[in-house]
């Protein structure tokens, strides 16, 4: 399943629509990095609201997306992690280092629009 990546002003939004296989996750990673370079975007928001499971491979992939985009000078914001997913991730010790986290898409956009004011609330876990 292809993840649509939308361009919005100077940032991108990747909205995951359903469970992704490992190969699809890797494809997402390559696609995100390529698009950030192409559009010279300063941030990417990855919406995982529909996922009811985020395994260690998915978490690792998100982390590498965050680290790769950072090398390109952009920020990664993961939004919409569900309560059950958050609990499972904590138990597995998955922290999404390098990525910022926001509650939902709206909150993520807010962070981008006034980064200074909201910066304190959404820490990046490092």
């Amino acid at each position: 399943m292809q993840v649509p990546i939308l361009k919005q002003e100077d940032f991108l939004i990747a909205s995951i629509q359903g469970a992704l296989s490992d190969a699809e996750l890797l494809a997402l990673r390559d696609q995100v990095v390529a698009k950030i370079r192409h559009f010279r975007a300063r941030a990417i928001i990855i919406d995982v609201t529909v996922l009811d499971l985020l395994d260690s491979f998915a978490a690792r992939t998100l982390r590498s997306i965050a680290q790769m985009t950072r090398l390109l000078g952009a920020q990664t914001i993961v939004v919409g992690i569900q309560p059950e997913v958050a609990m499972a991730m904590v138990q597995l010790g998955l922290r999404l280092e390098g990525a910022s986290i926001a509650m939902d898409l709206e909150d993520g956009l807010l962070i981008l629009r006034n980064r200074g004011m909201q910066g304190d609330v959404s820490n990046d876990g490092t």
């Binding site: 309560p83 958050a86 904590v90 922290r95 999404l96 939902d104 304190d120 609330v121 959404s122």
Partner: protein, 333 residues
């Protein structure tokens, strides 16, 4: 109790009490080495028991009435007469054979009755002892020439009495266990409320010990509340937590981390000097977690993070406002 012992507690209904099945009855009898010879001996003294029953029961109640802790149960003469009759049946049942599961169940029921009226275990066991002594006297009197026979019958009776006693004590223990279970359930039901302090700020006062079960329950509740209210800041107050060890600390770290993954920041408040000392001593790493000493500071910090500014309006000024309003009302404005 273990199911493979065939001994089951009464489940959810409080009045039901423990149950003893055929298998368990046999196991207990075997343990007491209570066999067919014993049954024969007990049945052989049934006639004797019938003969002396009334006498023994009278002695028995005279004894009970001479102690304040037991006489209190028999203030009503009518009730006393009824209890005496029941006691006689109980006494005679000892020498009637058929010591099966039904017998055991009946003994349990009797134990339950005594437990329910609040008879102390010591008095209950004392009553068994009184029976044994009363019977021993009469047995050895009756079999004056055959002490061996009297002794054998008495030993068999002892076995049966201990069988009865173990059942009676079980009913007492079972009742306490039910109470403990009910209280544990009640404590769990008092689970931690998640309160909304302001739009976007949640408050979670934790009172009592945090164990693994409660920690995961608490975390789950908090995360759902965060999602439902879209709260970005949570004040988790641990003033009511008696102590924090490395396990409690790791629970707290997990809760904070899970909330962070949902885009919400948790501030822990209520860290007393003692708790701070313990945490430093045992080397708990609270890492990136923001902790504050008291709830007030935590609420202020939460408001600051959410962009709230609380302004105190002077009381004098407010009174003026009220007066103004009243004036205006009087003038019909």
């Amino acid at each position: 109790m273990d199911v493979h012992h065939g001994y089951k507690t009464g489940g959810s209904s409080r009045s039901k009490g423990p149950e003893v099945d055929v298998h368990e009855t046999e196991r207990r009898k075997k343990f007491l080495q209570f066999g067919d010879p014993d049954i024969g001996r007990l049945e052989s003294i049934n006639a004797l028991a019938e003969k002396y029953a009334d006498e023994v029961i009278e002695d028995f109640y005279r004894h009970l009435m001479s102690f304040s802790e037991t006489s209190a149960f028999f203030s009503d003469p009518q009730q006393l007469a009824r209890v005496k009759e029941l006691q006689k049946q109980y006494f005679l049942r000892l020498t009637k054979g058929e010591y099966d599961a039904e017998y055991a169940q009946n003994r349990l029921k009797i134990g339950q009755v005594h437990e329910r009226i609040g008879l102390p275990v010591s008095a209950y066991l004392g009553m068994y002892n009184f029976y044994l002594r009363a019977v021993a006297d009469r047995l050895f009197q009756h079999f004056e020439r055959e002490p061996k026979q009297a002794l054998d019958a008495f030993v068999s009776l002892t076995k049966l009495t201990f069988f009865d006693m173990s059942l009676a004590i079980d009913t007492y223990i079972d009742s306490r266990e039910q109470t403990i279970r009910a209280q544990q359930a009640a404590i769990q039901d008092l689970s931690t409320p998640v309160l909304q302090l302001r739009p976007g700020i949640l408050m979670l006062p934790v009172v009592g010990l945090i164990d693994s079960f409660r920690a995961s329950q608490l975390t789950e509740q908090l995360l759902h509340s965060i999602r439902d209210t879209r709260s970005k800041v949570v004040v988790l107050d641990i003033t009511g937590v008696p102590y924090v060890d490395s396990r409690v600390a790791s629970h707290l770290v997990q809760t904070v981390e899970a909330a962070r993954l949902m885009g919400s920041k948790v501030i822990i408040s209520g860290v007393s000097p003692e708790i701070a000392l313990t945490m430093v001593t045992i080397g708990v790493d609270l890492g990136q977690i923001e902790t504050l000493g008291d709830m007030q500071s935590a609420i202020e910090r939460a408001e600051q993070l959410s962009g709230y500014q609380v302004k105190r309006v002077s009381l004098q000024r407010r009174r003026d406002d009220v007066d103004d309003d009243e004036d205006r009302a009087r003038r019909g404005e």
